[in-house]
Symmetry: C2
Subunit: 200 residues, 2 copies
């Protein structure tokens, strides 16, 4: 048997395996809950990438930003020109070290979550991104049990992505997918500035 035949045979076996997996997979009949966590880059940006997929299929998307505040980002400028399809709410007051006021941080987190809860129950969205909500959970600005209850009560149509480092174990337990972004090498560590179009 030549190498070429071996490759072809191996690939045929792999194809059969993939086809079996695909044919056995079931449609959950509801939106999924995805958690993007870890200390590496890509948690929010991959949620924005999933938004693009949804928009490509003409779906309707909501975004609530729990931490990011007033500063201008490329993603915000971009999605602002899709107001028909993307309902974008920046509810954060900025980093905790900039507000320096825990009560204000808690109030901002609660207001953001109230907005998110309305959106999840409304049935008006295919996908909702709760950007950096894990940070608000980590500092106990929000109660994880209450967040999970609200996720359970969401419209069956709606998938939800929750981003931010240090995701709570209870949330990961409930989620359909958990992806951890690990920092192997980061330019900030090498003293390189955050870059427009890459980091924000």
């Amino acid at each position: 048997m030549t190498t070429e035949q071996t490759h072809s045979d191996r690939m045929k076996a792999l194809q059969a395996e993939q086809q079996k997996k695909t044919s056995e997979a079931r449609d959950p009949g509801r939106g999924l809950v995805l958690v993007h966590t870890g200390n590496g880059k890509g948690k929010s940006s991959s949620a924005f990438g999933v938004i693009i997929r949804a928009l490509g299929w003409k779906q309707t998307v909501g975004v609530v930003q729990f931490i990011k505040g007033k500063w201008i980002t490329g993603e915000k400028q971009f999605f602002m020109s899709f107001k028909d399809q993307v309902d974008w709410h920046t509810m954060g007051e900025g980093f905790t070290w900039d507000t320096q006021d825990k009560d204000r941080d808690i109030a901002a987190a609660e207001a953001a979550f109230a907005r998110a809860a309305d959106m999840m129950q409304s049935g008006a969205y295919d996908l909702i991104v709760l950007d950096e909500i894990n940070i608000a959970l980590r500092y106990d600005y929000l109660d994880v049990a209450a967040v999970i209850e609200t996720l359970k009560g969401r419209s069956t149509r709606t998938s939800v992505i929750l981003t931010g480092r240090d995701a709570k174990p209870e949330l990961c337990e409930y989620a359909d997918l958990v992806s951890e972004m690990t920092e192997v090498k980061h330019p900030f560590k090498a003293g390189i500035k955050a870059q427009r179009g890459i980091d924000f």
Copy 2:
């Protein structure tokens, strides 16, 4: 000292630390090289999220897809309506188990890389995404030393993101940033079908 004062003081110290880091960071004066690897979800989608950031700042973007072939994805449908700003090339022939022809896979990878090399040298792009190129490198359809040489010779204006699992160590060594997406929990494993708007 009340708890509130303690919080405020701690945050002031943290703020000072962050400001020091930011003021000491330098601008590299060139585009960055980023690698998104690992077995988890988010490698390609976070590259698409970075594209959104770039587009928000009116930058120009190129995409070469090394593996993905003819099938329709949300991202492709979406970016097709941004032809002025996004130069999109799907050069793959599909999964290796579908082509079942190694020579054809190699020819496709080489053609995709020739296109990518032209784009990287042209100086016409702020950001270029080489989607799933790591797969082509892993199977030695492309030579990693040649890829690194081409990256070194790119226009200084251009940042490049290379995605796909099993990134070569030599490539990670050269890159400014390496982010590893780890699968903690995946719906496919629980027998759930790939979802339109989430997975493609």
